[in-house]
């Protein structure tokens, strides 16, 4: 049994295809979905989304925030932003991480929240980038242009 997955962000459709299982960073903790799941609408955290394909290697996608709609035969991820492992610019993510660390050290407590989010996001992007697969990519919808 596979389940249809669609990942959309405001600027593009990132993925459309069938997977065995999908795990997502739900606000209430890691959320795994198989075919036949009860209808669910939930918000997403900043985290790693994994697509488990039958037989093949899993695919990793960094998502930050958004909403997921789960239906028995379909999962629609409306992420505020999403990048797959091989799209992530490691150098830029490292730079952003350093900037965020620096800001966390120097900033006063009251406006730390955006910096903390930036820090978590760049950490996540690095983590997902390290998952860069050596095998052939799946049925990703190509980026525009």
């Amino acid at each position: 049994m596979t389940i249809q997955v669609e990942i959309v962000t405001p600027s593009r459709q990132l993925y459309s295809g069938e997977v065995e299982m999908i795990t997502m960073p739900g606000v209430e903790g890691e959320l795994g979905v198989l075919a036949g799941h009860a209808p669910l609408l939930t918000t997403l955290n900043i985290g790693e989304l994994t697509l488990h394909n039958a037989g093949g290697e899993p695919e990793y996608i960094a998502v930050s925030g958004g909403v997921v709609e789960v239906l028995p035969d379909k999962v629609i991820v409306m992420a505020r932003s999403a990048e797959r492992a091989d799209e992530i610019d490691v150098a830029r993510a490292e730079e952003a991480l350093q900037r965020a660390e620096e800001a966390l050290r120097t900033r006063p407590d009251e406006d730390r929240q955006p910096v903390e989010i930036a820090y978590r996001r760049s950490q996540l992007r690095l983590k997902v980038a390290r998952r860069r697969r050596r095998t052939r990519p799946g049925v990703f919808v190509e980026d525009e242009g």
């Binding site: 669609e6 405001p10 409306m78």
Partner: protein
């Protein structure tokens, strides 16, 4: 009559201009196509968000208090405008048209006794406001041509925060809608409060909401506001380049016509010169006889 050398110099300079405008036309054409594709790419998200939104709206009925972003206020006193213009000119009437729409809208709102503040996106809009009507709430210039959500996030955060804090009771976006290459239409669209569309789609199943309906709704509303701003930006970018493309094509044609005219004048002048020289020679030779 100008000397042949002067005319030749003018021909060369006009020909250079036509080369520049032709290159600008080609650049604008390719940027326009890209922006058109980006407009298309926002549709799946926008449609999905709207679907979930109207589902939640229906679920809640009309009486319940829901998110502030979706609740119309009884009295509208302060209106926010997101004005989208280009950073650059040389695009025919593109900036002037959207600025005229903006001026009309501001006047209309003031006539109804409302206060207006503008979030200016694009340098042309900001400059116009600074000169004629400096009610600027925020400004965003030098936006990249290939926009992502992260680029417009500060804009949506500004208007959402201002709407929540009651600085604005309504937020509208003024941009140029790309109809086709020949027609771009300045458009006003309300973005806050969000108006969920009536869908005729079949009633979806009963969802479990995690952590709560309100939290999901808030995320969807923020996402929907962002995608609307993004769409307006893409439409505007496509319109800008298409207007520039047409303006540059006209400029190239005008330059080529001018080259033809000048070439004719040049030939006449040259012929006149030759005739004059011949007359001199003939006159001289008659004198010698």
């Amino acid at each position: 009559m100008a000397s042949t050398r002067e005319i030749r110099r003018r021909i060369r300079s006009v020909r250079n201009i036509s080369q520049v405008t032709r290159a600008m036309e080609a650049v604008a054409a390719s940027k326009m196509r890209r922006a058109q594709q980006q407009v298309m790419a926002t549709r799946p998200y926008a449609e999905k968000a709207l679907e979930v939104l109207s589902h939640i709206a229906r679920l809640h009925g009309s009486g319940d208090p829901m998110d502030a972003l979706i609740t119309s206020r009884a009295e509208i006193k302060r209106v926010g405008i997101v004005l989208i213009t280009a950073d650059r000119g040389l695009a025919g009437g593109f900036n002037a048209n959207v600025l005229r729409q903006n001026a009309l809208f501001i006047k209309e709102q003031r006539d109804r006794g409302r206060e207006v503040e503008v979030v200016a996106v694009g340098r042309k809009g900001r400059d116009w406001l600074l000169r004629y009507d400096p009610v600027i709430r925020a400004e965003f210039t030098n936006m990249p041509d290939t926009l992502a959500t992260a680029d417009i996030a500060p804009i949506s955060r500004t208007v959402i925060d201002d709407f929540r804090s009651q600085r604005f009771d309504e937020v509208h976006i003024i941009f140029t809608d790309f109809v086709n290459t020949l027609l771009q239409r300045p458009t006003v669209q309300q973005i806050l409060p969000v108006v969920p569309a009536e869908t005729t789609a079949a009633m979806p199943p009963d969802y479990i909401f995690e952590p709560s309906v309100e939290a999901v709704l808030e995320q969807v509303l923020i996402g929907f506001t962002e995608v609307q701003i993004l769409q307006a930006m893409y439409e505007s970018i496509a319109s800008e380049h298409s207007a520039r493309m047409v303006a540059m094509r006209n400029a190239t044609e005008a330059a080529n016509e001018l080259v033809d005219e000048l070439t004719l004048t040049y030939n006449k002048a040259r012929q006149e010169g030759i005739t004059r020289e011949l007359m001199d020679i003939i006159g001289g030779s008659i004198g010698l006889e």
